[in-house]
Symmetry: C2
Subunit: 214 residues, 2 copies
DNA sequence: GCAAAATATTTAACTATATGGTTAAACCGA
DNA sequence: TCGGTTTAACCATATAGTTAAATATTTTGC
């Protein structure tokens, strides 16, 4: 009677195809805007195969989001460890997040919609991934404060500033640029960032967080 | 043959009920997640009335988003004018945005989902609203640079930082707090902001943007 | 090594419900 | 009674999810 589902943590070829198609489709159209039929079509498999391999829409979505967030959560601590001082660690953290977003272009839209809906479809395991990333940031900010190099900032606000800057810039810039009727001075200004997005955000956040004698 | 639709810019009682119900529903469930039937039910009118009064789902959505963004776009310039120096103007701008978000709680989720989907359902008129808000910010940053009080920042990145911080903090904090299993130190830290969200963001952004002799 | 049985995987066809949108009739105030 | 407004009933399509049969693949008996 117990029809055990396939082990998702080590997906086979078919399951992998499905997850990739699902990731792209969820990223483009969101949870509600995505139909299971469309995912199956893009994966090139029958819908029943999709249900056999992975499960219903919720399970599919949960696996997609965890697959992408889980990797990030696992490697953030290591990336931060390359820095010695709190400043270096915070910079490494921001560069890591920006790089993760670069390498996982489906993450920003999925995360933003998840935030927008109050985590309506956010599976527990994904929330745990987020929490472990946040914990790393919390550690950096606390160390910086103890050593007297950071202001007494609100950690979650710093988090919001980092993630918010990166996500809004990444996703908002293409929208702005697609509005061909916009006054030129609004568009031309930002064509090229002086550095990478991560570096720019790191510079600004560090200025906001570091303690200076003025 | 031309069945002229009702004038939306000055909605009557029934139309107003529908628009309010639509705003709440779109904010909660997003464009795709919202059914016209649900809006009609929440507005307490027949679905055909909704189509008669306003039009199809797209038109309904466009009116909702413009109704809320239009007000903001119209009053931002005036709010900023209360400041004399670029610093004061930038602070006034950020406080205004934070206040607008406070007063229009449906705006953040709608905007975030719009950004996430690349402006998929964003009507031209709403994009114009956004542009006029952005133009005000651009003016402040340029004046600050000319007067030598601001660094040579990337305007759209400053925009992303302001909007991103406010939206992510506003929407992200409740999610974080709802994860009852989270380690206490992650949650307890941020319970109370020292000031309002707008003030906190303004402090941090100004530190990031202002030019100091160091 | 190999046919046959057992198991794992995929598929077309199906169901029940939800959805966006329409229609023609009923309602209602001037 | 006339024009604007609202309504119940309706339609075509889309959707999440299921089923039983077909097709691969693996295991077993010899």
């Amino acid at each position: 009677m117990f029809r055990r589902k396939i082990d998702i943590s080590n997906p086979g070829k078919t399951a992998q195809k499905i997850l990739i198609a699902a990731r792209k489709t969820f990223a483009r159209h969101g949870y509600s805007g995505t139909s299971v039929d469309e995912i199956a079509r893009r994966a090139g498999v029958n819908k029943a195969t999709l249900y056999y391999q992975i499960g219903d829409k919720d399970t599919l979505y949960a696996n997609v989001i965890h697959q992408v967030l889980g990797n990030i959560a696992q490697s953030v601590a290591q990336a931060v460890a390359t820095g010695k001082t709190p400043e270096e660690k915070l910079r490494a953290y921001i560069l890591f997040v920006a790089d993760a977003v670069d390498k996982n272009p489906e993450l920003p839209p999925i995360m933003m919609r998840e935030v927008a809906s109050g985590g309506a479809h956010l599976p527990r395991v994904a929330a745990e991934d987020m929490a472990s990333v946040l914990t790393v940031l919390l550690g950096i900010l606390e160390e910086g404060k103890e050593k007297g190099v950071f202001n007494d900032v609100v950690p979650f606000l710093v988090h919001a500033m980092i993630i918010g800057s990166i996500l809004i810039f990444k996703l908002g810039a293409p929208i702005k640029d697609s509005q061909i009727w916009l006054p030129e001075d609004l568009k031309a200004r930002d064509k090229k960032l002086p550095g990478t997005l991560g570096e720019e955000v790191a510079d600004m956040v560090l200025k906001a967080v570091k303690k200076y004698d003025r």
